[in-house]
């Protein structure tokens, strides 16, 4: 109950600040990136952190979502909600089609295969003239509002948290801990891995739709594997297997990105160092698999 009140209060406060104009364009853009990054990080964390399957193709699913929502709203003239549904469904479908064959692979092979699929999605998008080819689509109407962003972030996080806390979630975590052992215990590992992959892809597609309808332009180049690495940095920094960790890291990385806007190379060097140093000194990430809650204060 308290959480709900706090969330509502936060939502209203930000909404008020936007309406009154305390939060100018610059802050609004960063706020949007923050929400999108949270959705991306939390959904990738489901695949990488909880299921233990290293996927490097998250940007590909984001691209599928972004493009299919834009096709719906801009080319077919459907309302935004239809665009978002299309984004979620198409990304989930892409996740299923890619997940079923690749999730048979383990560890580093899976990482490379998902990276490859992400790049294939990008190359295919580049070659479809209907959606602008390499130039992408320009002039997307700005339909992503703070309400959409806030509700989207909360719903994505809640769905994933509840999934993890369910019996499905326990099966998923058991796969991360020991795949062979959980298979022996009678868990259909392929099914749960695909499930986690599809849910992760679905929310990446959702994030893509929100992204496309805020930033006016999408092009295949935006969704290259560097974008996937961005999300990976958040997940690794926050802790593989900690949702609150992913949220905190997503917020931190967004702020860092905004602060280093004029020095993009420095930002990437920092990302690189984060990956290396975290893996060497704290391979479980800042939060490990613990969750941050206000209860630790009380």
């Amino acid at each position: 109950m308290l959480e709900l009140a706090a969330l509502t209060a936060f939502f209203m406060l930000v909404q008020y600040m936007i309406t009154v104009g305390i939060l100018n364009q610059y802050y609004q853009i960063n706020l949007t990136s923050m929400c999108i990054n949270i959705i991306l990080a939390v959904s990738l964390n489901l695949i990488n952190g909880f299921t233990g399957q290293l996927s490097l193709g998250h940007a590909g699913f984001m691209a599928v979502g972004a493009y299919s929502s834009v096709v719906m709203t801009q080319m077919l003239g459907q309302p935004f909600i239809i665009g978002i549904l299309a984004a979620c469904l198409s990304a989930a479908l892409a996740g299923f089609v890619i997940g079923v064959p690749t999730l048979r692979l383990r560890g580093d092979y899976l990482a490379i295969a998902t990276l490859g699929f992400g790049e294939i999605i990008r190359v295919v998008l580049q070659n479809i003239d209907y959606i602008g080819g390499p130039a992408g689509i320009v002039g997307i109407s700005k339909l992503t509002t703070w309400t959409w962003l806030f509700a989207g972030t909360v719903v994505s996080t809640l769905v994933i948290v509840n999934l993890i806390n369910s019996s499905y979630g326990r099966a998923i975590i058991s796969i991360r801990e020991d795949e062979i052992a959980s298979e022996v215990m009678g868990i259909n590992t392929t099914r749960y891995k695909v499930l986690a992959f599809v849910v992760g892809a679905l929310f990446a597609g959702f994030a893509g739709a929100l992204y496309a309808h805020y930033f006016y332009i999408i092009k295949p180049e935006t969704f290259s594997f560097l974008k996937s690495f961005d999300v990976l940095v958040m997940v690794v920094l926050g802790g593989l297997g900690s949702t609150t960790g992913a949220v905190i890291a997503a917020v931190f990385i967004t702020v860092l990105t905004a602060a280093l806007q004029t020095f993009p190379a420095v930002r990437m060097i920092l990302y690189a160092l984060i990956l290396i140093i975290v893996m060497i000194y704290r391979p479980q990430g800042l939060m490990g698999n613990r969750e941050f809650s206000l209860k630790i204060f009380g």
């Binding site: 690749t102 580093d108 990482a111 490859g116 790049e119 070659n127 190379a265 690189a272 290396i276």
Partner: protein
Amino acid sequence: MLEFFQQAVNGLSLGAIYALIALGYTMVYGIILLINFAHGDIMMVGAYVGFFSISLLGSNILVAMIFAMVTCAVLGVLIEKIAYKPLRNSTRIAALITAIGVSLFLEYITIFLLGATQRVFPASAFPAKYYNLMGIVISNKDIFIIVSAVLLMIVLHYIIKRTRTGKAMRAVSLDREAAVLMGISVDRTISVTFAIGSSLAAAAGVLVGVYYNTINPLMGIIPGLKAFVAAVLGGIGIIPGAMVGGFVMGILETMVSGYGSSLYRDAAAFGILILILLVKPTGLFGKNNGEKV
């Protein structure tokens, strides 16, 4: 038919480059089971060292290549000591994430220091000549690339099969613990592997400069990934496999560009990877080892 042979010739020189890079991947994987994601970027550093030794020191292409190879051998050993060695006993995922970190680091430190702009590889270092062999055009660049790649492969083969270091490398990759018991210094052997692999990548970097005429800080990514595909295609960890895989990838790529659309050539590479991983994950030359609990 003539066009087919022309494409095959073009593919051979590209394939030779991929094979050289793939060798480094496969050697490192064979010995510490790590996909050295930064390998393509070591190639990029090699290309830059070659570029500067030609444009600033005025050395010829062979000296530039040796220079690049020595620099990158040192770089490879340093990377292994600083970034990979502390993780030798942690999970493979952790090591892979670190490798991605090293890769990003090399790319963006180069952008930071030298700028992101493309540089033209000095043409004076290698004046182009074209020969016509029964209708097939071969440039001296192609010949240079293929000959130097094949020579390096012969040297590598000699090192691995005929020297004590090579024997140690084979032993460590077969069974690390047994190798330690036999008195082999594993650390030293891993360092030598990184040094050799990185110097091959550096040579490939200089050859890429000759082949494409331009170099940039992100040039290592795509050839690196394709070389990885080549290594998987041949069976990762297997040295002749990497050579064959590299040539197959190069020829396939030029065929896709020649007969299909050049826009799809990168997708084709990944398509092959996924196909191989699904049909025969151990690669063309690989043996299937059952999983042990």
